[in-house]
Symmetry: D2
């Protein structure tokens, strides 16, 4: 390592003999017993503690993402735990790995879309016009618009209304939320069916309002779901299902090719 | 799947067209905007919301575990992100995989040790005597006592004192904490050097006080560190170090065997 | 990184402008087109290419471990792929994470048991006596003996017979295999039921015969199963099952608590 | 799971009391001792055993991808093993997670590009014209052309020449290889600098020649690198570097913010 080209630097955490620092704050004095876990996420990703209003919205977002029942991720965690019960961390990691473009990735997609659209617009630009242009452009190239529609909540995602209400109470309902709603309306009109803003779209918009970098927006799903997946390991200990699922699938699916090898 | 032997059941989460349920509570009405992220972890792993005292201790534990600076886990996350920046979830998962027996596993070890020791003891058993017997037995079979000592905080882990103080304020400092401290004292005497209770020992004891199952105790490290690892991805975007580390190591370490293959 | 304490060194691979070296061999000239994939595994873990006899046994071991149908690992891979089809590597990784103590770990357990038993014995020690003593000792402390018995192959694992025959043909059937068989016989007698050496026991013994370090014995399962899991991703593209499994489980298992939150 | 909508089926593997089947072949009789590990990968992904020519090319591809020295992946594996030495599978998985779009993903990119280009072309289409059109189109939208150029092998990747020679000997050098080479030439001309086909480009082309689905092309990197990463764990046991790297980085990088929290 003789030819050092670029210095390495990190400002996240450090320890001395009698103190631990996180982002320049004294962990024991300023954080433990003073702030909640959602505030720590804010501190890690914004470099400062949140205001009470920011804390409430950030925690509401994270709380909304913790638990979604039996998802592919939850099953992957339970199946992994079956084979490696000594490694809780690996079972959680296995579940997190499925949080890709299909499920949680739309948070990132929505945050990027809103952030890029407003970055290129004038401060007083009309949100309805921006939304209509964006939807038309994406529709023309058959791109999927992130953050809209829901398989089960067809008339509207209850989490969206609640998140936007909490944001309004906190005076954090700004142009990103407005644009996301306008995109939902424009898309509903363009495609001729109701396409309400779903929870990932609402969260993508609120993360922009709070100043988070869209490149780590997916991380909010990852942080919250890590908690939910530990919950699934705990339930698997009480009401196991992984072995039974595996036995059923094996029994139904395995088919040695007829006549082969005989 | 014709031969269903055992029914599958889960009580964690469920959705209807206009509601989302988590552990029997209405996500939008009872949780979002009402509780913080640490409380959600409590709900997932205890099946009910915490009291204010339980909430404070649970959040303090989780806050203490979020960030530890440049750890092997943080580096694994940053190096993974270098090759797969499209998959934030995979970079976090890579970092979590190192939370095994060496680093975070001692939380689980301490929780199991305390829980098993007190499970086999009478309610009025003397904690010092229990601790001395336990230390003697483990020393005889050369077993490592989890939750004691720290490479850097040699005179005492500042997080331990703070955690136990918060627990005392919350009236949640009970026999598990007492036993953990007694084990630290007995071990210091037996080994002839100061072996103070470290943060993982303190947390193992407090998780028992809060009624969490020791089998998911390691999960607290996993949940918190998932947040910290997203923080490291964010810092890697601003102050990248993964590529530079790799270049330096490659430059110093790679040695084609002398004369081989020539 | 100013205070360099220990030098970093690696002899596995290196590149110059016109050559690539692996373990001191020229990748293009000495390996590609000359050796098969199993030989490369041997080279990585033994530091030299195998003899034809070693190559045959090593490949037979690895071939035996590639595919086991619908396992918890295979399902974890398929479920992960459902959510993150852009990340084949993550889906394979999710499946590998379940190769812990319950399933593939017994290869490592058997290799360690045989290696430690013979390390402490005289070269001319009687294998039956060693086995009987070992089984008695493990039975006394209720330890699980790795590498014996099989849920489905109750009368004997067909892979064991085949592996030992191939090893005999290659003159690689030595004292580790003998001890493993003696342990199977001693255990059958001690427990009063047939406990034949299963595939993981046979492989653990043969890895010792081939001179592999028991600490990486589990790695043979990992290497082979990585191939099998890519196979499951390929089949999932043709005959998808992950979504259907998830839907069925969700439909049967999700139970909002009666009356809760209402 | 009452409402079964779609049947589950798998033809990869199955077991009876005295046999194990893989893809319709008898594992013990037809595969173990008969075929090598690369042939098993072919069987999993093509549904039949390879011809000798196909076997040679497939093994050469896989052999080429096993080992690349100290890569970000290898470091992630070693750092993970440091914290969780009880879980070899998790350390390998951590390394695999970095095989994303930046490093190994270009195999998939090249395979998709070639496959899509020839799928839309007439059988007698001129490869140079196809290549020129493709390069022009990609250059216009500033897309990255996968499979070209190499940081170190600036005058040409030695693995490419060797792979194409082996394919020619096996009569498996067809239109996909021809198109890949034509794309390299067209790109070199268009960008005014030498952009030779690198190993991932060559492998992408050969996987198409062999009839593999481009959607699992990245899996070849994953399968091979799993072997290489077990090799790095083995070397870490002999020549450890993870702890030293971590200490050096921590020492250089950690910076509590000046004056903060004091």
């Amino acid at each position: 390592m003789a030819e050092t080209k670029k210095p390495l630097e990190s400002h996240l955490g450090a320890s001395t003999a009698d103190r631990v620092w996180v982002r320049g704050l004294d962990l024991c004095r300023d954080l433990m017993g003073q702030v909640n876990l959602g505030d720590m996420a804010f501190l890690e990703l914004r470099g400062r503690l949140p205001t009470p209003a920011e804390s409430r919205v950030t925690n509401a977002i994270l709380v909304a993402l913790v638990e979604h029942g039996i998802t592919p991720s939850a099953l992957a965690t339970r199946l992994t735990y079956l084979g490696a019960p000594e490694a809780v961390q690996a079972a959680v990691a296995a579940g997190l790995l499925g949080l890709g473009t299909v499920f949680v990735g739309s948070i990132e997609g929505a945050a990027r879309l809103l952030s890029e659209t407003l970055a290129g617009a004038r401060p007083d630009a009309d949100l309805k016009a921006l939304a209509a242009a964006q939807v038309a452009e994406m529709r023309a190239r058959k791109a999927n618009i992130p953050g809209l529609g829901h398989r089960m909540h067809v008339k509207g995602d209850p989490r969206t209304a609640r998140l936007f209400a909490i944001a309004a109470e906190a005076s954090l309902r700004g142009r990103f939320v407005g644009l996301m709603e306008a995109i939902g309306e424009a898309a509903s009109q363009a495609y001729g069916r109701t396409l309400p803003v779903n929870a990932t779209g609402a969260i993508g918009a609120l993360l922009c309002e709070l100043g988070f970098d869209p490149r780590v927006a997916r991380g909010f799903g990852v942080m919250s779901r890590a908690i939910g997946l530990v919950g699934h390991i705990f339930e698997e200990l009480q009401h196991p299902m992984a072995r039974e699922i595996c036995d059923r699938v094996e029994h139904e699916a395995n088919r040695p090719l007829a006549g082969a090898g005989s």
